[in-house]
């Protein structure tokens, strides 16, 4: 099923221990919106690795490309979105690797849901309003396991609902008869139907109230312990990620600006944008502090300036930031598991002094 030759590992720049094998590897993924001469570059050479059993948090402001990354990696990007380059390597259960972007339509269809399942933002609109929950759970199962009988599939659907804490008699319900929280649970149950290796959750709890958000996420994390799938959790809520994610990737203007273990990002954010993002959420522990927003607004992606996209808003901006685009690399502190795209860290030698905020 593998459709490509392994490229050299140096292409994807990602730090961290390599003991656990990557289950999903995004390499240099680029996405444009709009055709013709002047497309908007929404993703620029994004690389990201999800290791088996890991929860990877993807954080960033609205419009930074988080969802586009999820859609592009699964080839669900609607027009005028266009993948202009990159690879998405998925390691199968048998250890075979395949580039999702190079699969034929039939192969892609077979891999979807079986290997990668997605839970989308809109809990309210993700279910087909005219079909019963049962039918929608079953058709996905039967599409991949045509030899399974209808009765068996129905049994499996009931089991899935119980898994997310919904009683099996709701199988006969239509989506409009369920609450928002129940619908999102049904979506999660549906996503787990074929025991996928990777579950991508695109702001799965945005439309729900805070209590429900917590319940659902705790449930997903519990299921992950039991079933052993890996999770990509996309959200703008960094404090939530700090709690549930193993690693966090921070995105800004279509690029990943920092990846590090969750605890490191929380305690010692290296990129000024990560620091700003954390400063705009109430801290989880310790004394209360003044919340600070990040001044300015995200750049217009259709009119790229040279240099670091965060430069106009950055409190530590230097001359080099306005002319040269920083690339993802190790910090001067030589932290194993961290990559940062910031001139503060990459252009200084180890002995020089860093601004307080990013040098803790």
């Amino acid at each position: 099923m593998s459709t490509g030759v392994e490229t050299s590992p140096g292409v994807a720049r990602d730090a961290g221990p390599t003991a656990e094998e990557p289950v999903l590897e995004v390499r240099n993924l680029s996405v444009d919106y709009g055709f013709g001469d002047d497309p908007t570059h929404v993703l620029r050479e994004v690389s990201l690795t999800l290791r088996r059993g890991e929860v990877l948090g993807l954080a960033g402001e609205s419009g930074c490309g988080k969802s586009t990354l999820a859609y592009a990696a699964t080839r669900l990007l609607p027009p005028p979105g266009l993948i202009t380059g990159g690879e998405v390597w998925l390691t199968g259960r048998d250890g075979e690797r395949a580039d999702l972007l190079a699969l034929s339509d039939a192969e892609l269809r077979a891999a979807r849901w079986r290997d990668i399942a997605i839970v989308f933002q809109g809990a309210m609109s993700s279910l087909n309003p005219v079909f019963r929950v049962e039918k929608q759970l079953i058709d996905g199962i039967l599409a991949h396991r045509p030899r399974m009988g209808r009765a068996e599939a129905r049994e499996r659907a009931a089991e899935l609902l119980r898994l997310v804490g919904i009683s099996a008699d709701r199988l006969r319900a239509y989506p409009h008869q369920l609450s928002g929280g129940m619908r999102q649970r049904v979506m999660i149950a549906m996503a787990l139907a074929l025991e996928p290796q990777v579950l991508i959750m695109d702001e799965p709890t945005t439309a729900l109230d805070v209590v429900m958000q917590r319940q659902i996420l705790e449930q997903v994390m519990e299921l992950r312990e039991r079933l052993g799938f890996s999770v990509v959790l996309i959200t703008h809520d960094v404090s939530l990620l700090v709690e549930v994610a193993d690693r966090i990737a921070v995105m800004y203007a279509g690029e990943i600006v920092e990846t590090a273990p969750a605890r490191d990002v929380y305690q010692r954010p290296r990129h000024p944008y990560s620091a700003g993002l954390l400063g705009s959420f109430p801290p989880l522990h310790g004394p209360r502090r003044e919340l600070a927003g990040i001044p300015g607004a995200p750049p217009d992606l259709s009119q790229r300036e040279p240099g670091c996209p965060f430069a106009p808003r950055c409190p530590h901006v230097m001359d080099v930031c306005r002319t040269e685009l920083p690339v993802l690399g190790r910090t001067a502190q030589a932290e194993e598991a961290r990559l940062v795209a910031c001139h503060l860290h990459t252009s200084l030698s180890a002995g020089e002094k860093l601004p307080d905020l990013v040098a803790r």
Partner: protein, 327 residues
Amino acid sequence: MRFLLRRVVFYALTAWAAITINFFIPRMLPGDPVTALLGRMQGRIDSNAEHSLRVLFGLDQDTSMWQQYLDYWGLLLRGDLGLSFTHFPTPVADIVSQSLPWTVGLVGVATIIAFVIGSLIGTFLGWRRGTWADGLLPVATFFQAVPYFWLGLITIAVLSVNLGWFPSSGSYDRGLVPAFSGEFIGSVVYYGFLPALTVVLSSVAGWVLGMRNMMVTVSSEDYVTVAHAKGLPERQVMLGYAARNAVLPQVSSFALSLGFVVGGTLIMEMVFSYQGIGYTLYQAVSTHDYPLMQGCFLVITLSVLVANMVADLAYALLDPRTRTEDR
């Protein structure tokens, strides 16, 4: 069941209102049938006969409008629609029941065909939006914009006058005796083909455009993306998820258009001299034939109501959200 009962009561009330209005409107038209009849006969009837005609039509009695209204209901409930003035003394019920099957058969079948073909084409065009398929849209818009009578005349000119493939008027070969024989039915189909073709051609575009636009809207719904993400076969996503939801508004306009089948085909029946209810109504209006007019209006009103009711029920069947819970 409560849902059904509520709908039935609603439609009964609507029918009462419609029949009542139907009763009063012809009586407000200027002119009177006797004068019209005398005028049509162009002096062949002695003007002294005017009074006897009035007696004959029952127009001499000075009954109040209210009394007439009550009498009307009494007769209506017995299925008596009165006698036609122009086709005197044929009962209106006979005239209506003779012309109705022709209209319903021809236009009904044509409407169903147009709906099915149009929705299928629309499904396909909507699914393949942004490709060469969009090039078919101007063609659809053209057929939607063409005035019906012109389309009818052109088809007659080309297919029956020049090529001689189809008869230009009538509903069956007058040499045949109406019977349930293969020959007669074949003749009806042969004569009906051309008018049906024009009805389909002029209405199919509306279904295509409506369905295509709904498909485009529905295709960007989250549940369609989810269906793709689930790895369902494309056909299943297109028909089961996108088209299944896109067809809902189509179904209600289809039921409404079935209601207008009976009343809205006047031009077709005139262009093709087809003996349907539209043509009968036209004659009735131009000769102040109150009973026939009322009979036609009644049938048209009732058919629109029935179609509406069918639309309601079909919608309830297709869309679970409109069903009220019976607990």
